[in-house]
């Protein structure tokens, strides 16, 4: 399926990651600056695999306290009730508002976890130089990058609740430390998706592929 297709790398060219101009690959690294926009020219994102692994692992570690620790504490008439992300979903289910329960479940639990698992799958398949379903794996990456931002939903919900219902009422809402870990998960997975270079998936098709798989 590679017949007739030339990649920029095999032609000795680099596509500028900022303005998408095709540039000649300079011999010295000092020459590798886009003549049009001035960005550094890089054949592939630098250390893409190692960096993405590091970020994915960091996100996984934060994912645990994000789900175990409470994200909000509602204090009403001296009674305190703490909610984690999951108990928030269950609360909406019990009150019969399942569309909202579904939205929160997708944004806060499903998407972050799927994103991490997809990134791990992509990383491992690239490292094993897999030729399996290259096109579908690229599509998987594209979707992952697209939906990641929606995980921020719960952070905003907590922010609005805390800002609106403040001290001085019979009822107050306090943010729990879980939300900080959760925000960290969302930001780190977003950066991880940006650091991963989908072109690595296709590099196995290059004839003399000397790309360092590490």
């Amino acid at each position: 399926m590679n017949s007739g297709l030339i990649t920029a790398r095999s032609a000795g060219l680099i596509s500028c990651q900022s303005c998408h101009l095709l540039c000649e690959r300079g011999k010295r690294s000092a020459d590798r600056i886009c003549p049009r926009c001035g960005a550094n020219l890089r054949e592939r994102k630098p250390n893409s695999i190692v960096r993405t692994w590091a970020l994915v692992l960091a996100a996984f570690i934060f994912y645990i306290p994000a789900n175990v620790l409470p994200i909000t504490t509602v204090i009403s008439l001296g009674k305190a009730q703490s909610d984690t992300i999951m108990s928030g979903v269950i609360y909406f289910l019990h009150t019969g508002m399942w569309p909202i329960a579904l939205v929160i479940f997708l944004a806060s639990i499903f998407i972050p976890l799927m994103k991490l698992l997809v990134l791990i799958f992509l990383l491992i398949s690239v490292q094993f130089r897999s030729r399996w379903r290259l096109r579908d794996r690229t599509r998987l990456y594209r979707i992952t990058e697209l939906v990641g931002r929606w995980s921020m939903l719960d952070v905003f919900v907590v922010a609005v609740l805390v800002a609106l219902v403040r001290l001085g009422y019979l009822t107050t809402i306090e943010a729990g430390s879980g939300i900080i870990f959760f925000a960290a998960v969302v930001v780190i997975t977003m950066i991880a998706a940006m650091t991963f270079d989908p072109r690595l998936i296709w590099d196995v098709l290059e004839k003399n592929d000397e790309s360092p798989v590490c």
């Binding site: 060219l13 000649e24 922010a159 998936i201």
Partner: protein
């Protein structure tokens, strides 16, 4: 080499062709969107950006939600809400909300005005390359639409506890989300770079 483009997702080189109206060029190997034909990209994007700036000012000058408990009414604007978070020891979250709902959208619109307004009148903004590169980094962090859904969910959550009064700025927010989305859709960065290249 400006008649060729490499796919940003699989590196295959393609010849750039003129597209029919509303046409989209996909990569033949991986299917990624390479470029699109956009009618009047410059004017449309500029119009949406200016509309967005006006809505942004409106959205931030009025309270977006009011909360009525008993006889007490509390109103919150976006910035006082962020300040409230900061005071309550949630500094990290406050900064995150500040960046994603105020700074990033504002910077994104300001960058576009800086680039598009002079281009529209046939002039060349001096810092265009640097501003365009900066814009690429800002875009993913502008999350107005997610924030809007966040407001909706919190309103439902509070509905049993207190009476919620939607403020003027809530409607401006709602309009702003659509305007920002339209702005990004009509933006054609290839066109901007072409203009820059021709002029310099």
């Amino acid at each position: 080499m400006d008649t060729f483009i490499a796919c940003h997702e699989c590196d295959v080189i393609h010849h750039i062709k003129t597209l029919p109206s509303k046409g989209t060029a996909h990569c033949i190997r991986c299917g990624a969107v390479l470029y699109k034909h956009k009618t009047n990209s410059l004017e449309r994007t500029l119009a949406f950006t200016l509309a967005g700036l006006i809505l942004f000012v409106l959205a931030n000058s009025f309270p977006f939600l009011g909360l009525k408990i008993g006889a007490q009414v509390r109103e919150t604007t976006l910035i006082t809400g962020i300040h409230e978070l900061y005071v309550q020891g949630m500094q990290i979250i406050a900064v995150l909300v500040l960046i994603t709902t105020m700074l990033a959208p504002l910077l994104q619109m300001m960058c576009l005005v800086y680039v598009l307004l002079p281009l529209k009148f046939g002039r060349l903004p001096k810092m265009l390359p640097r501003v365009m590169r900066f814009l690429e980094h800002v875009l993913p962090w502008s999350m107005m639409e997610v924030f809007m859904i966040g407001i909706l969910v919190s309103v439902v959550k509070l509905a049993g506890m207190a009476k919620i009064i939607p403020g003027i700025s809530l409607y401006s927010f709602l309009a702003l989300i659509f305007v920002l989305a339209a702005m990004i859709v009509s933006l054609d960065s290839h066109l901007i770079w072409q203009k820059w290249e021709k002029a310099s």
